[in-house]
């Protein structure tokens, strides 16, 4: 397919004047493209097929970085830098934060909830690939790129021209964007707010829980103090002569007392 594209472009370029193809790829751009396109594709495949979600995020970082370099190559330095700063800097770090909060071992289950979903997804993916490839093949045979050299107009460079368009023709969309960002920030605060403080029992509920039936409201008895033993592991004696198990902490091992120690002295 790529050979056909190349052939169509050669014919089109030969047929028309060479100045119309000013946006064609230079050889340096070709080298960068063929180095970074496999990285982008491999990152995308690795993101889909990695079992660990953190690995998926790191694969996606490599793909997004490659795309940022592509934007810079296609005479879009501002959009390329924004891609690297916003996507690989901010958004992916946000993803990693949420992964760490949720727990990175929350991997996929192998069980299929919908029967045959993976097969259907594979068929749909192949169908989508075929559809997009057909559209591209029919549409892009004789494309000539004009390039952005003449797009700057009176401005000196692409970035001032971009700023000029953004603050004149697209200024309404730009202002709407600020409203969108504020709404998103407020929405994130509302969704992220946890009312854990309201779930804590107040004093009345604590007191009622303390005096409810079956609960012993007083403090537990202290350990036993005998003539031969007074450590915290010696259990106290109840009035009937048996040991009080609640006088020794559950985490310590109760000491076996010799019969003479705990007997009453006469």
């Amino acid at each position: 397919m790529s050979i056909l594209l190349e052939l169509g472009n050669e014919i089109a370029t030969a047929a028309s004047d060479p100045a119309a193809d000013a946006g064609a790829m230079t050889s340096g751009e070709k080298v960068a493209f063929w180095c970074l396109a496999p990285i982008a594709l491999g990152g995308a495949m690795g993101m889909v097929f990695a079992r660990n979600a953190v690995h998926s995020a790191l694969f996606l970082v490599s793909t997004m970085f490659s795309l940022g370099v592509f934007y810079v190559l296609q005479s879009g330095p501002f959009i390329g830098m924004v891609q690297i700063i916003v996507y690989t800097g901010a958004i992916m770090i946000l993803f990693l934060f949420v992964l760490m909060l949720i727990g990175r071992d929350s991997s996929d289950s192998i069980v299929e909830t919908l029967r045959g979903q993976r097969v259907a997804a594979a068929v749909l993916g192949v169908a989508l690939a075929g559809l997009v490839a057909t559209g591209l093949f029919r549409a892009l045979g004789v494309v000539q790129a004009r390039g952005l050299d003449g797009a700057a107009g009176q401005s000196d460079g692409h970035v001032p021209a971009l700023a000029e368009a953004l603050f004149t023709r697209y200024v309404f969309a730009f202002e709407i964007t600020s409203a969108l960002l504020i709404t998103a920030a407020v929405g994130a605060m509302v969704l992220g707010h946890s009312d854990a403080a309201a779930d804590r029992p107040n004093q009345e509920e604590q007191s009622r829980a303390r005096f409810r039936r079956g609960n012993y409201p007083a403090p537990d008895p202290g350990p036993g103090v005998y003539a031969g033993a007074d450590a915290v592991v010696t259990p106290a004696l109840l009035p009937d002569g048996s040991f009080a198990s609640s006088s020794v902490a559950d985490t310590t091992q109760q000491r076996q007392l010799k019969p003479g120690i705990s007997e009453p002295k006469r």
């Binding site: 790529s2 594209l5 190349e6 472009n9 790829m25 070709k30 493209f33 396109a37 982008a40 594709l41 995308a44 993101m47 889909v48 979600a53 998926s56 996606l60 793909t63 997004m64 795309l67 592509f70 934007y71 296609q74 879009g76 501002f78 959009i79 924004v82 891609q83 916003v86 996507y87 958004i91 946000l94 993803f95 949420v98 992964l99 949720i102 929350s106 289950s109 997804a121 749909l124 993916g125 989508l128 997009v132 490839a133 591209l136 000539q144 790129a145 004009r146 952005l148 797009a151 971009l162 953004l166 697209y170 964007t177 969108l180 960002l181 998103a184 994130a188 969704l191 992220g192 946890s194």
Partner: protein
């Protein structure tokens, strides 16, 4: 050679992202696949901007990035809220509306 290879690459990335959305179960990975699809469309916009010789495509990609950032913030907050109530990040387990 005109920059149509970028469009082919963007189409491949978009397809991979779509398959990932359909196949993966972890809500965060599904979300990353949506981000990959948005990035593929951005690459298409920037390439068409170059082919047509105007800067409008780059401005459109810029707005797509802003909307994607807002979407990520809200989506991750929703995933966190679901995780807090149901202790899971799998899209299969949030099925209370099913029946």
């Amino acid at each position: 050679m005109s920059p149509t290879y970028y469009l082919v690459l963007a189409a491949a990335l978009f397809t991979i992202g779509a398959v990932g959305v359909l196949v993966r179960r972890n809500a965060i990975v599904v979300f990353m696949c949506v981000e990959l699809m948005l990035n593929a469309v951005n690459l298409t916009l920037v390439t068409f901007s170059r082919i047509n010789g105007t800067l409008d495509g780059q401005i459109m990609a810029f707005f797509v990035m802003v909307v994607a950032a807002a979407e990520v913030v809200i989506g991750l907050a929703i995933i966190m809220a679901i995780f807090r109530s149901r202790r899971t990040a799998s899209v299969d387990d949030a099925n209370l509306l099913k029946y």
